[in-house]
Point group: D2
Chain length 319, copies 4
Amino acid sequence: MKTIAVLTSGGDAPGMNAAVRAVVRSAIYNGCKVFGVNRGYRGLIDGDLFEMDLSSVGDIIHRGGTVLKSARCLEFKTEEGREKALNVLKVFGIDGLVVVGGDGSFQGAQKLSEMGFPAIGIPGTIDNDLAYTDYTIGFDTALNTVIDAISKIRDTSSSHERVSIIEVMGRHCGDIALYAGLAGGAEVIIIPEAGYNEDEICKKLIQSKNRGKKHSIIMLAEGVGGAQKLADKIKEKTGIESRATILGHIQRGGSPSAFDRIIASQMGAKAVELLLEGKSSRVVGIKNNEIIDVDIHEALAMERKLNTEIYKLVDILSI
Amino acid sequence: MKTIAVLTSGGDAPGMNAAVRAVVRSAIYNGCKVFGVNRGYRGLIDGDLFEMDLSSVGDIIHRGGTVLKSARCLEFKTEEGREKALNVLKVFGIDGLVVVGGDGSFQGAQKLSEMGFPAIGIPGTIDNDLAYTDYTIGFDTALNTVIDAISKIRDTSSSHERVSIIEVMGRHCGDIALYAGLAGGAEVIIIPEAGYNEDEICKKLIQSKNRGKKHSIIMLAEGVGGAQKLADKIKEKTGIESRATILGHIQRGGSPSAFDRIIASQMGAKAVELLLEGKSSRVVGIKNNEIIDVDIHEALAMERKLNTEIYKLVDILSI
Amino acid sequence: MKTIAVLTSGGDAPGMNAAVRAVVRSAIYNGCKVFGVNRGYRGLIDGDLFEMDLSSVGDIIHRGGTVLKSARCLEFKTEEGREKALNVLKVFGIDGLVVVGGDGSFQGAQKLSEMGFPAIGIPGTIDNDLAYTDYTIGFDTALNTVIDAISKIRDTSSSHERVSIIEVMGRHCGDIALYAGLAGGAEVIIIPEAGYNEDEICKKLIQSKNRGKKHSIIMLAEGVGGAQKLADKIKEKTGIESRATILGHIQRGGSPSAFDRIIASQMGAKAVELLLEGKSSRVVGIKNNEIIDVDIHEALAMERKLNTEIYKLVDILSI
Amino acid sequence: MKTIAVLTSGGDAPGMNAAVRAVVRSAIYNGCKVFGVNRGYRGLIDGDLFEMDLSSVGDIIHRGGTVLKSARCLEFKTEEGREKALNVLKVFGIDGLVVVGGDGSFQGAQKLSEMGFPAIGIPGTIDNDLAYTDYTIGFDTALNTVIDAISKIRDTSSSHERVSIIEVMGRHCGDIALYAGLAGGAEVIIIPEAGYNEDEICKKLIQSKNRGKKHSIIMLAEGVGGAQKLADKIKEKTGIESRATILGHIQRGGSPSAFDRIIASQMGAKAVELLLEGKSSRVVGIKNNEIIDVDIHEALAMERKLNTEIYKLVDILSI
């Protein structure tokens, strides 16, 4: 029998609870004991662990956020901090750790692996900014939250025949803007991975207007920023009025979508499987519609590429 | 037989379509002809009217925004503008006008009434800022949109044990912040009608924290503003981290709630009834759970009062 | 200081948790102790009570169902059962009881009152079948659930140009069918309070079809029943195809609407207020947009009347 | 330049509009003319075609159902019917046809291809019952509708500590029950592809109950049927009360999810691309997260297999 611990770390994402539930249940199914760690690496250092049984993850699969909480932890970035964490893991008799989080959290898991402690990562972040996996847990829910917001904004935007600029999350990775823009029928998508030209945008808006289309949606990723400034520019250059909305933290919450719950469940079970096989320093993902695992170093070294087909498709469909 | 025109004006609100549908259908039911006016008073001046039949309002009861569009119209604020509008109404053979909108729109209806043209107002605005009526069309939908956003923000706020400050619409009237705050379980509500004391808020947050409650929601009405500044103050005075979200235009869209569709339907029918009875210069409302009508002058002169019972209740329940 | 107990009984309704929260918090605010009773009168007899503090009702305002559970309890209908319950109340030192439920639950509260134990009722039922109050807690949420279902069914009904018959809850009271039908734009509404004529319905469907409208929604209350049979009749008499859907238990769940949370909060606070004033045998309600209280006997004796204005309005608007 | 026609056929599915929009827009982008066909093959025989421009698909990406309507058409199953359709296609100068629908609709496209007319299929059905593609358009939306219903039913099921049996669509393919059951945290899943044993189910329910879990969700696919009978059996064998709900047509409607809109957009563009390349008798799909195309004959000949990993996972996670 083994004892497994699980923590969530970094920005929370809908579906983290489904992943935690899957880790706990499949561990117990396989005869293991499981501990939950509160507040990510912070709780690991502080020894804030508690044993989890089947019912401790009952009725959480549909809840947003993470029942294990999350927190930043600078101390874990120091060798001393990690030594403390390792001691806690030993004291509690933990044999392996599952970390649900983004790239920052994976670096922590990698460090622990390097110190000889088996650690497996599960990608939980709405940003979809990890190159080794097609999807991260929370991304699909965030998309659905954003397209719902687009629908609402389109109502008023259409009534007033205005342009709406919607800024969504994504500092380095524009996937939320890109995919939600495609799904929301946005006319223009502005993401960090591709440049943008104000004049081109203004031209498109004028053409749309002349064709009789009096409202348009512009999606803008956080990493590009400047929604209000763009609104001012458009007004100045075309006379067309626009309104900027920054969607903010609603994108990080909400009951997870079916897709996020499913991949979270699969990944949670896979992570336990890997630990039971004696693996370490791996991250779980989904590639080509299959659950995979990759070496953490390799995963973190991969470079994320823009899906140029999708980017091009937006152009075709917003003609 | 009479000919009735209907327009929507000012900021759009969910349920305006249900009101337009009710005007059109009950007018036709009563043997009238009905014209829709595009873009509010702008369309009235421009003669942008079209006849509406039963099916022109089919499948719109559940749609947000307004199929008749809305627009600002400075020209209607001039006597010349209004003369033009009056001429258009005569040319089209219109006998009475229904205006769906807020107080600014009602002033237009009042002017037309003073010029001898029968006009009836229906309160369509999410702000609930009209004193003569308990509810305006769109308010209930906006509340439900806001409490859904609060739920999402609470997820992430709870995961990270942070304070969330949510700024909602309401320049002079804090009803959205107040009622959504009560319904969303907010700890603090800051509205234009009542002062607020930063130290009191900080004290409450510290007490909550000491009692084990690690996340809190602060609702802030637009008219008070300064969400980010408040977040900074709280950090400075208490060390507690908080995040500000400005909900923006999502509050103005979305499929209308059952309540908004019902009162919009009732008010639309009532407006037609009043015109058929030869009434003019009246606004329709709901008071004590009954559809009422009030003289426009009187309605606009009434002073809106804060619901102090609700305001006090928030304090009791967020203890 | 007093000690108050609270229970939920009968069919659950969204907003019951908001009511429980309000009872607990306003009781504590007023210096009382509060006990929660599990599983309604069953728990009262079994002594299944537990003390509730402020945090025991944290983060429940937005949850459907009832954290206190509900159950049928035949034993409480006997004098022996009630004696047991009374003893439990005394042993726990309870001074007053708040019962959230429908008319069956109120009868229990009345019996306890008659035995000299102060009891106050709060109307929690989606059916809106209590004559003394304009609205019951849960009704507004159920309406919104039903109109959302209508929207979904309308999509497919419109694609296939079919009639859809939707059966909703309401054994004796057709309010869900009536109000949701109005809000959902239903063509026909069939409720227990009013007869219906198959030929009239068939005539209306044929007229609609001839006018170019190829899909229609028929709302049917559970108390009338026979959705599938009606579908068969319509097919037989008109050749028009229709599909029957029985919405079922989804109407009883879901996150409560803003309106339900607000009235539940107000009613919970009011119930505590009444107990503190030494009142007993009262039920809380909302009438003319004001929170009221009425003697239980009187309340249960009142006869619920159909809102004929609304019923007539449906006819006008579905012309 | 080419002229392309598009139709939707069979049971409607959310996302069909997004597919139609993509066909129209990418065809126009590529310099083609596009015609929409009303009511599937019925409209093809009747010559019910109309030219579509860019704005005819404006603001439909978020709408459920299909703006092109759907209908059964027995006549098209005859050679005569197909000859008529072919003549219509020639008269309108159509060079290629895109059919959005399920396997029945694909057979029609195949027949036309065999008659020498270029036809391409796009998989639009909520059932996910086509073996050549990982996902069909509408499946993801249906899953999200079902898990939302499960959440609502779980509320009341948990309050009353009852078992809920939920019957969902799927005559031969249990994917909706399987995936929604996994995502909804169902305890038992009963699908046509796998047998089920009443005693096993009863045993599991008793074990759950003894472990303190007092409510359970059983998902049942339409193809298995007998929800009420199962409820009766469970009552008889275990004494545990259960309630059956048949979700019905709400599963077929609603605003499409982000995922469905995205794959529908991609598939629509792909179908046009294939026609422009002179291809015929192909169906578009998504396999291993990539848009693919397959010969219709081959596609229809493939046998759908149960995802046994998912089926096994449900067992592990509902331990």
